[in-house]
Amino acid sequence: MNLSNEYMSLIEIAEKAGEPIRTDDAHVIVHANNIIAAKDIPGLEIDAEETEFGIRASFTVKAGAILKKPVHLCFGHLGKEGKQVIESRIVLEEGAKAKFYSHCIFPNAVKFLHAMEGDIVVGKGADMTYEEVHVHGPEGKIEVRPLTRVVVDEKGRYVSNFSLIEGRVGILSLDVEVDVVGRLGIAEITSKVYGKYDDICNVKDTIRLSGEKSSGLAKARVVLKDNSFGKFFGEVQGAADGAKGHVDCTEIVQGNAKAEAVPVVSVVHPGAEITHEAAIGRIANEKLWGLMAKGLTENEAIDVIVSGLLR
């Protein structure tokens, strides 16, 4: 099957979205359930196979390997309808360091299901950054279901940034759970979503801190306008001595949109400390007025504030 057009289109859209995929970078590029291109590099093993509706892939960053450039995962579909299911397992062995950049590209989707089921293991002293950026078209109602389970070992660090701000969200059910089991382990999860029209945006971030002196941050920035709906559920649980965590949620609501935030802080060890902050509602007047006093109109001020928040 010749998929050169699909390949070129996905690469081009990824580049426009801000993170180009270069041919010498480690990558896996998938259209529908076809692996169009795959490349590993020293220190990284990739094992991928096609399934009925997507792919199943495992990535292992070998012990001590430090990948200087991001590993690009590009999952997309150029059609209007369909279904894509991505099953992945990423393991960073002891002392490894890597950044995975996941591009999820559905520019024409009208009726589509994109499901991702990911298992991630961050080994002792390993450091992983996971960026997931979605590019959707302006029409239609794609259903996006990213489900990720992460385990972080001693002195390991897991940082994830999920971003769905281009085009319509559709129906999003983001569900990330991180278990920081190792001493001095770190987890930081950030989710940024811009809901429009009648989009539904559900973001669920959970961090359990069972490692001594481990730390975690669950952060969400959600902007909702038109008739969209958004709900953030962020939970950080302190279950070990010296564990420190924080839940930080800001939801801005415009038009007829509706928002809910459920920050949950729980402590099951007397030596743990968990805090939270949540701001939900319209943009504060003082922010708007501050910019309007510099000559911006109210709408220009809103654009500046929203784009900063979702940056």
Partner: protein
Amino acid sequence: MTDTPLLQVDEVTVTRENGKKLLDQVSLRVGHGEVTGVLGRNGAGKTTLAYTVMGLPSYRPNSGRIFFEGKDITNLSITDRSRLGITLAWQYPARYEGITVAEYLRLSRKDATRRELEEALDFIQMEPFYLDRFVDKALSGGERKRLELASIYLMRPKLAILDEPDSGVDLLALGDVIKLFKKLIDFGSSVLVITHRDDIASACDRAYLLCNGKVMLEGQPVAVKQYFMSLCSPCSDPLLAGGVISNESQ
């Protein structure tokens, strides 16, 4: 210099919905190239006056008029007033997540070069590395205040309203505030400075003493300052209510 003042506030009254008068028939003028001080204790109505001149929606006059360069701006929006050349350095500047200091400063002057941004920061004693920081929790309240002043330095407005420019965690020294006044005047701006510090008032060309939303004294800064410092209780002194100390009386 023209006879028409740059800013003229004419018997402005601002009343809350509960009937409380925040400003009571306040009249004030700022001349071209002048630094005008508004002195008063906490709660006197100084910041309310600044917000009213800037045009904040909750601080619209119930009566009275505001003129800028002879034009009635009483019903203009904040944006329109800003575009006419009025701006405000806030006492407690807001945080803006995801916006760098450089981007924030360029909202005041779009075409400013990196060098000009650095110069503005240098003027208020901030290092160039701040340009890449975000205007959020990464900056202290004092740093955000300085940034507001840098913003005004770049904007070069016709009228800069400075609300307590010297207050905050990271205080600007009196000399720095006076240096800023002089620089703004050099740029062709006029300044309306809100302060509760008598030494700041001394650096003005004209001063007003505000108490309980009323102008109690107007005149030479030294005289207004002296009255303010001498256990200011003008509200209880009916002879001084609405009083003017002329230049000759000094």
